[in-house]
Symmetry: D3
């Protein structure tokens, strides 16, 4: 333990995911002193038409920008 669950928008490469889970794990272990073997990281994705800030989807915000 712990469990670190990342939720982000799609579009990251396999290499970015690989680096992300490795680096988040290292960071957690460095700060808390736990063992790497007990750290799980999962990466989930939510599309930009299904994520909103201030009631507006990220897709719509991007279209305006």
């Amino acid at each position: 333990m712990p469990l670190i669950q990342v939720v982000q928008t799609p579009g990251k490469t396999a290499e970015q995911k690989r680096e992300l889970v490795r680096e988040l794990t290292d960071t957690y272990v460095r700060v808390t002193g736990g063992k790497p073997e007990s750290v799980w990281v999962t990466i989930g994705e939510v599309a930009t038409d299904s994520w909103s800030i201030a009631g507006e989807t990220l897709a719509d915000r991007a279209a305006k920008a």
Copy 2:
């Protein structure tokens, strides 16, 4: 903050999602008095063969109905 995470079955249109995140955000702000900018909404989906009530998937329940 807050975070509002909706999990539903697939099949909603883009327009329904757009309206849903806007209306849920408005509702939250109206009830609690917070600021819209601090409200995140995410919509996730779980297929009907992966969601059960009383041990029976929604897909199987629909097939019987």
Copy 3:
């Protein structure tokens, strides 16, 4: 179905929670056309020392403001 999971900071009254779950349910049903009986809402809390934006806890941000 669906499931609506709200995560917010502590401090809301019982009456606000009561109104929040009722209003979020009504909103969901109005937008999607589902049945109220199939809507679950849960409210969870995360303390301000355990929630960050831009790497700074909400507690620290509030202390500065």
Copy 4:
């Protein structure tokens, strides 16, 4: 209530999912004494390139084994 959320890697058959939700529900009811009708189970999936142990993705671990 309760809600039982399973997260696993892809590759299970429809029949395994059907059995899984039925058996997890039965188990919960047997241990706690609740009613089957109040038990929701959802099954979500995280790909092996998006799940890590000790900072290494399950995909990379499998490739080495």
Copy 5:
């Protein structure tokens, strides 16, 4: 892998929790053929004033019953 996250209302004994995590793990392994060592179960709680069905909290529903 997998992760099984149970969310329920408070009031279960330590012995019920112990039995619950053991039995859910056994069930998962029996159905899917995985290894017990790779199964994590977590139990979370949501109070009855923070969980609603059809827009009414479980606390209010219980008070009426």
Copy 6:
């Protein structure tokens, strides 16, 4: 976006939490190139009698060790 949700056992100090959210945010930004302002981190806790590996709670595993 993104959202990084950490779940761990209780017992971390306020200073560890402060460092953890800051360092996880920095790590995410460094790997993916996003903006710090769009990164939310939440820390949740699950007690050792409510978290199991291989069907045995962390509390029971610790008592044996």
